[in-house]
Every structure is written in structure tokens, then in C-alpha cells.
Amino acid sequence: MNRADFIELGYLVGASLFILGLKGLGRPRTARRGNLLGAAGMLVAILVTLIDQAIVSYWVLAAGLAVGSAIGVLLAVKVQMTSMPELVALFNGFGGAASVLVAGASFIEAVDLGLVDDQTSVAAAATAIIGAVTFTGSVVAFAKLRESLHWHGFAGIRIVNAVLALVSLGLAVMVVVDPGNTMWLWALVAVGAVLGLLVVVPIGGADMPVVIALLNSLSGLAASSTGFVLDNTLLIIAGALVGASGIILTQIMSVAMNRSALSVLFADAPSAGGGMDADEVYAGKITKTSAEEVAMILETANRVMIVPGYGLAVAQAQHAVSELAKLLEANDTEVVFAIHPVAGRMPGHMNVLLAEAEIDYEKLLEMDAANPTFAQTDVAIVLGANDVVNPSANTDPDSPIAGMPVLEVGDAQTVIVIKRSLSPGFAGIPNPLFAADNALMLFGDGKAAVTAINKALAEG
């Protein structure tokens, strides 16, 4: 077996590991092993590649691998749990940028050596546009999730995008027709970068997870088309796997948010402020309460449902809540948690936090299971959740979250809402729930408030 065959065989092993890894990642029991299999596949691929005859200057590689690993591990280990989606977006952008650079370098090389054929130039053009869109799109998604970018674009942004798409198409044709001039390729990269920026900018932060899944799919396609440039089977296969699974994941996530993937991408920039005015909604209709009063109410409750949201994560209140649940259960009160699929800032956010506080898996109800049971619930405690319990999703067709399925906490006998103020949640809209007759507001930091309730319960 010659060296080329050996490399190909290693790539086959790598591809198989990626397939098994992806398969594992889709099932809760096998997810962790799946991730490790994916990493093993990557290791095999790297080792096998390093014996490639064409590789002569190892120091560049060593330096690049060392720098990249150090930064990657640092970011991955330091990041807060709540910032993971941003980080994934950023990583994803780097992957897209790397694809652009690789395709560019190989294209330049092929031009120098006079080896450009149609496959190379078509694939290089595809990589340039897809990779550039992935890069800037991901960086914008990152900035939006960090809340360090608040720009929503300008009127007519869609027309500009359509024009840019046409321009990039023209440039791609030029890359193929006139491959001798590498400037066409870099121009294409530049236009792609602007396009990625402008496509993602108008999208609301709440839709970002869907966008990131889509960009992830694009970065897979960029890798795959880089594979066509380099005639590399593993890049083609692994890129296509990620490209396809990313599209499906985008689809699944959109469905979970009750959006279509297309409406996420091409929705008009949301009208700032939404359909309702906060003062109008809340004026004179807010009932405040205290930790002691809440404790009294809870003492007589038979069934309590806790609805956690992003505020739970910010306040790091998960251990206090676990404590509260134990106190209530000691008093023969049934306690369950209702988990909205998009509560928090990433899918599975609440599950991660509550798992950390060792709350039993069986006590976590998914939305569909939870909603019919609010009517038989004495007290619903809304802890740092806002959008996911906003009834205007059902009642106000003009609301930015109209049509999103929400937890119908209003059906409970008493609703206790714990948050610091009346300020809105992620979607930036007021919540009529807070003004409902059966709703009591307990203002304060989530952790402090729950701790106070626990104290009152223990004393009472």
C-alpha cells in the first residue's frame, strides 16, 4: 500500500468516526461519547495528513496548531455557560474564515503552477462566498448575542442584499472565466463578507440560535467545497455531513420556535417596541408582594410549578431553587418544573442549570406536558422568565413573538413573578401577565428573593 492509499484509508477511518460521532450527538445517552468520537476522528485525520509528502515545512504547522489550540482551549474553558452559543458562533466564523484562506491559498498556488481547471475555480469561488458569509455572519451573531451590537440595519436592506448577491454571482463567474487574475477571488470574498454582515444584522437576537445552526451548516458546505478545490475526500464528506445535518437542525430548531427557517432569515427588521406600550399595559395594575407573603401562600399550596427563565441563569439561583423545592416537598407539596424549549439563551439552558443543582430529571416537564396541568396548580412561580410566559404570543397577532407557543402560567390559581424590575426580556416587549389579577410581583434579584422565601418558610 502506497502512502496516498494510506492517507485515504486514514481519511475513511476519520469519516467513519465523524459519522458515528454525529449519530451519538443526537441521543442523550450517547452524546458525550459521540463528541469524543468526533474528536478522535479529527485526531486521526490530522495525524494522517501530517505524513503527506507535500508537507515540507513543519514549523509553520506546529506554530499554527499550538497557537490555535491554546486560544481554543482558553476560550472553551473560560467561557460562562450562558455565553456558550456566542462562543460556538465565533468558532464557527473562524472555521469559515479558515476555509476561505485555504481555498484562496490553493487557488493562488494552482494559478502559479498553471494547474487551474474548472473544478478548482468553481469550487474556489463557492468557498470564497460561502466562507466569507459564514465568517462575518457568525461574528455579527456573536456580537448580537453579547448584546454589544444593537444595530438592526436600515430600510431597504433586503434590496441591497439582493444586489450584493447578484454582484457576487457575477464575480464568481469572473473567477471561473478569468482565473489568471486572483483579484476576482478576493473581491468575491469582500462582497461575501459584506453580504454576511447585512443578512444577519436585521435578525433579532431571539432567532440567533437558528441563525447559528444555519451558519454552521454553511461552514460545513465551505469545508466541503474546499475539499473540491483540494480533491480531498475527507473534507468533502465531513463538510457535507455537517452541511446537511446543520440544515436539518436549523429546521428542527425553527419548528421548536414556531418559525420557519425562511421567515427567520428574511423577516423584516422587527419594529422596535413591538405592538404594545409598557406604561399602558402595567399602569396601576401591578400587585407587589413580599417574601413572607409568598411563603404563606406556598405553605397552603398542594401543587407548585416553577417556571425558570434567563433570570435564573443571571442570578445563579439554581441552588436556592433546589432548596426551595426540598422545603416545599418536606411540607407535602408537589413541586414540578415547567421547561420551555427556548427558555434562557440556548436550547437546553435550563436543563443544564437545574441538573447542576441536582434536581431530579423526572420533575422537569416539557412545555406540552406542562401546559394542561397549570389549571390544577395552586401556585406558579415564574423565576426570571419573561418572554416564555408572555400571553401576548397567543393574543396579540402584532407582537414580535406572536405564534410562539408559551407556558400558560396564567391558568394557575396564583402566579408569583420574581424579577428585578418591570423591564422587558429578550424580545423587548411588555408582558400583560404581570398585570393579571392573579399575578403577584416579587421584585428583586432571583437568588436573593428565593433565599428570602426559603428563610421565611423555614421560620414559619
Partner: protein, 102 residues
């Protein structure tokens, strides 16, 4: 390898990717996204070939940047995914351990 063979590999992998990711529960969306993102860093392989070829300074530097960026994607991606998934699974082992101790 002819273009059509490459295309064939691409199409098979696309079908496979679609079949692999069906009915994933929402809880796993984030780790799945992040794990498959790490896999898409496979472009690193291409970067290694580019950077290692020592063809001319420009491409070597492009290659170096590509290696570094792709490595961040790959290494960071797998590590962060593992961290996430560790959170999901710590609960289970801890409980029985506590019970056997008691």
C-alpha cells in the same frame, strides 16, 4: 479522482447527514450544534496541506492563519461541547453514589 466521484461522495454524505439528525430533543440542540461545528473545522486538514507546502510566502502565511483559525474551531469546539455535555450528565452518576454511601 474525477469530479463525479467527488460529487457522489458529497451526495451520499448529504443523505447520511440528513438521516443522522432526526428528532433530536431540544435539550441536545446546543451541544449538537457545537459538536458538529467542531467537525466542520475539518478544513484544518486542508490548511495543513496549504501551510505545509512551502510554495511561496503569501500562501504559507495564509496557510498559517488558516491552521490557527481552524485549530481554534476544532479544539475549542470539542472542548466546549464536552463541557456542555458534562453538565447534562453529572447529575445521574452523583445520585446513586450518594445513595450507596448512605
Amino acid at each position: 479522482m474525477t469530479l463525479v466521484i467527488s460529487l457522489t461522495l458529497f451526495v451520499l454524505a448529504v443523505f447520511l447527514g440528513v438521516e443522522l439528525i432526526t428528532k433530536v430533543p431540544p435539550t441536545l440542540h446546543t451541544p449538537l450544534m457545537s459538536g458538529s461545528n467542531a467537525i466542520s473545522g475539518i478544513t484544518l486538514i486542508g490548511a495543513l496541506v496549504s501551510a505545509g507546502a512551502d510554495h511561496r510566502a503569501l500562501t504559507t502565511w495564509l496557510g498559517f492563519a488558516a491552521v490557527a483559525l481552524a485549530t481554534i474551531n476544532v479544539v475549542g469546539g470539542f472542548v466546549v461541547t464536552n463541557r456542555m455535555l458534562a453538565m447534562f450528565t453529572t447529575r445521574k452518576p452523583k445520585r446513586p453514589a450518594a445513595e450507596t454511601e448512605a
